[in-house]
Symmetry: D2
Subunit: 319 residues, 4 copies
């Protein structure tokens, strides 16, 4: 069988490594190159294969059909242009092309919600990890008009440290993170808020959003806990998601509260909801869990690439 | 110097152990007995001292001036009566005598807020760990009338596993908790909500409360992240706490976001606040951190005992 | 394709769960039953399948071709007899039938070393996790006569907590294990020592063995560090393993020191060796790493089952 | 009371921070300065005090009676000379002046063993963390002539990550260390081996030493597991340590195996020993636990400083 050649820019970060692993196991893709400027020349083992990092400037962009860019925010945009000029498709995992980042009009790869734009697209902006965990969970409530108009939706999220990348920083040392927990991006200042607000606006949602991320002493996973004021009480709190995501292979709706270990190494969003007791007005507690490196980054990137390349959407992805 | 004899009921749980350690280091208290029915006869080392657990029924209640009860919820109330009949004072760390648990009128030992009731009291209901982290942080906003009337205050808390005690349960095994994070008490169903609602009501607060606790893969600490709608914007977001807690030795107000490692093994509540950007109406993000076994349990219990016994409030407590 | 029906006794422990997951993904096996007396009736999700635990007494032993017994030590032996009477093959993951446990003559499933006995066998004693990590590493030195006669081989091993099972015990609570490390089975008293000594004796090794296991604050993996006095210096310290395991798909020989994260969720033994500097007599430091639930339990059990059933040895196993 | 002024060079590393905390709580010392070139100007809170880091070149060496140098290996030696020229005493926590590092004759601060050299000394080389855990445990066996002549003593140690310092390195990120365990300094190549061999030689010990350190996924603590061939069997395995360390406040001899959590934040060495069963020749398994930042670094440094300054040896130290 003829495999489709793809490449990875920025392959030594956590998302880049996960991409390489997924490509190595993908039944129809083959990894033509993986770049990592600082570690160029180094080799990594991917299952039975060994890959040698090259510099980004040496990447044979013309030899592949699609390139995943896991380059840092700010550095990725120019590479997407080069990829396009070389005639390849691009999945950009950075924030550069996402909604709310000054570069609208690029298909936004929340796959389940934007499948029609991603299908066959030449460039896709792969969503941020937090937005994936939050927007996939909120979308059915927005679409079905269930959120109280002008209400404030309060979201608390907590992420494992791989979400912060593997550049050596003192704050991310084991000796600093172990046995600790803290909020950051305090006061609605996290970069991902723009991405979420722009998307909610595109969806004509009237709600205000409060978003506070936290850093967990564990490697991978994002749990988001969302308080959503409702226009009306719901008879079945899970019904909005069942209606929206009934046939989705990568969305799990459960009556149990999702936990990070339910989604480790899996390309899924796991969602639950329960009515909030003892409130003057109806409100829902919605929780979602993802693996930040899978559905929150590399997994969704491959899911998007599958659609862009006309492959089975689930190909090569652990559900 | 004549030391004051005290005892601990339920001394083998995490809070009970912490109590024994604090008493062993306290300059004016001496540990007369420590009970642990299942482990009776076992000995534990406390610094230079060795303590042997006895059965609760063998506790010489008449020989002490004060007893800390760290017995399980439901089992503690009857022992408080026995302690009182024996002529000793009691600090009850269980939920049995706290507000909202069907037994009003007992001084509620949020020390900084209820000092006048605790001073010289014969019985004090020691607050829950989550309520301590939340109510101490919210009180200045309530007292100063800063919360928007009828608003919903959304609180997310995350606790280390010692908050769940040390009874052997599968869910609390290392192999289950490590690398995991999840919410529980979903939908406003956690026991501590009654305690907080009753207290807010006593304070004449009109707000609704949403409270979602989470289980952290670490041993100790509680971080609470609170979204508070404001009646008016605040020019200095920390001013309400500075005004309320200026001279308090166990309250820390910081411009940095508090982290669990800032408060480990310390009897403090660390609080910060920041305005929420991009909202239609003014709102504040308040975060607080405590050590759940110290200010959230044993530390505050000793702080209350100090006041009940006429000692220096800070005696024997690591700030 | 006709799949081969198998069953799992003791399916709710960590090894039993891992077995069920491997069977669910195995291309030629199908899980006919899974027993868990205490949790009977409960359901677990295995990828796209849902399995309901039944009581061991209800297990349809006659309907399967092979049964994995992950029952506790002592309880397993009688079930192996019942399995045999029902006409099925058995892989026993308990210690009951292993060498040194009073029940010799059963093929001992260190697959790479005993393939000829396992092939087509009706009963196999699946090795302990520590013995697998140690004996696979020591075997080439023994077989090639490289260990100094009558020398003492000193082995230190450290295991993740899943090796201790998931029965609720206080010692295994997260609050007890986190931030701790300790030795146990002190003074050559661990059960696995008999298994290793009996095997070394069968191999005609003259060495004494010192074995000290330790408990790590992590979920899975065993690292063994072995000091081996040599008869003669080795020119290439890795040569004995290259000669012995050249074509083995599940043995990895590396010049880098193996780490637990190299072997997580993989059915491999990863081995390295280096000469010890500054010694009067030649000696080798050998290190090996396994995933205790994979190559140390369920993975090797499936590897053995594959051979017993005439399947490809690597079928269904992540290398 | 007149407090004795001391300073800390290299105060922002883990050992330097611990030194500052100990000095802040010390009843007779006061911290006159703390240097940290990269973080100069930054402030840290030490209990009720706030300290501002200065550059090393700005340190007022003439204004203090003693300086602790926690500077990196190689950089410390020249500073000890400057401290001496300024008329102050020096405790050097680096390896520069330790035995086996080319600079003999400086008192080696294994306090319990070298008290007579440390008492009133002007310069002391503070021992490495691993050597402290190992040499304090082995010394009684050496001194009492109990080790089999020309035997090989095999030591495996495992350390928490704070032992590797807090310079940002990828290998020490939480995402790399969590859920991992590995050996390093393989083949007797760790720097501390020279220090131990030189000391054993000074003690006229004839044994060979094998030393393999490991990196633990936890913050602090070192556990050493030692296999010691004996000249003769011991009737009481703990007797050698009881005889040697009977009156020592910082040595704990226990029949239980020591665990890291027994020694956290305490300036002690905890030691146990048990005979090894089933061996042709008598041998002992000795285990020791220390907190690498306390007895393994800052705590022992303060213990030595106390003796150098004529203070109570235990002053300011948590036992």
């Amino acid at each position: 069988m003829n495999r489709i050649s793809v490449g990875v820019l920025g392959a030594s970060g956590y998302a880049g490594q996960e991409l390489c692993r997924l490509i190595a196991r993908h039944p129809q893709l083959t990894l033509r190159f993986a770049t990592a400027n600082e570690q160029r020349g180094a080799t990594v083992r991917l299952g039975r294969h060994v890959v040698q990092y090259i510099a980004a400037d040496e990447a044979p962009l013309h030899d592949v059909e699609l390139v995943f860019s896991a380059l840092p925010h700010g550095a990725s945009k120019v590479w997407v242009e080069r990829i396009r000029e070389a005639g390849a498709r691009a999945v950009d995992l950075s924030a550069d092309l996402r909604p709310g980042n000054g570069c609208e009009g690029i298909p936004y790869g929340l796959t389940e919600l934007n499948r029609r734009f991603v299908d066959g697209a030449s460039v896709v902006a792969n969503p941020g990890c937090y937005p994936t965990s939050i927007l996939v969970a909120l979308a059915p409530l927005v679409e079905q008009g269930l959120i109280r108009p002008d209400a404030t939706v309060v979201v608390n999220s907590a992420s494992g440290v791989t979400g912060a990348g593997n550049s050596p920083k003192r704050d991310l040392l084991f000796g600093e993170v172990a046995e600790d927990f803290r909020a950051y991006g305090i006061g609605n200042t996290h970069r991902h808020l723009n991405e979420m607000r722009a998307t909610l606006e595109a969806w004509k949602a009237s709600c205000d959003l409060v978003f506070t991320p936290h850093l967990l002493p564990l490697a991978r996973g994002i749990l988001s806990t969302m308080v959503v004021p409702l226009a009306e009480p719901l008879s079945d709190p899970l019904e909005p998601w069942r209606a929206a995501y009934n046939a989705e292979p990568f969305i799990e709706i459960t009556s149990d509260t999702p936990a990070l270990r339910d989604v480790r190494h899996r390309n899924v969003v796991r969602i639950s909801a329960a009515p909030l007791e003892g409130m003057r007005a109806p409100a829902l507690l919605v929780t979602s869990a993802i693996d930040n490196l899978m559905k929150g980054a590399a997994g969704q990137a491959v899911q998007n690439a599958n659609l862009m390349l006309g492959l089975e959407e689930t190909a090569g992805l652990p559900a």
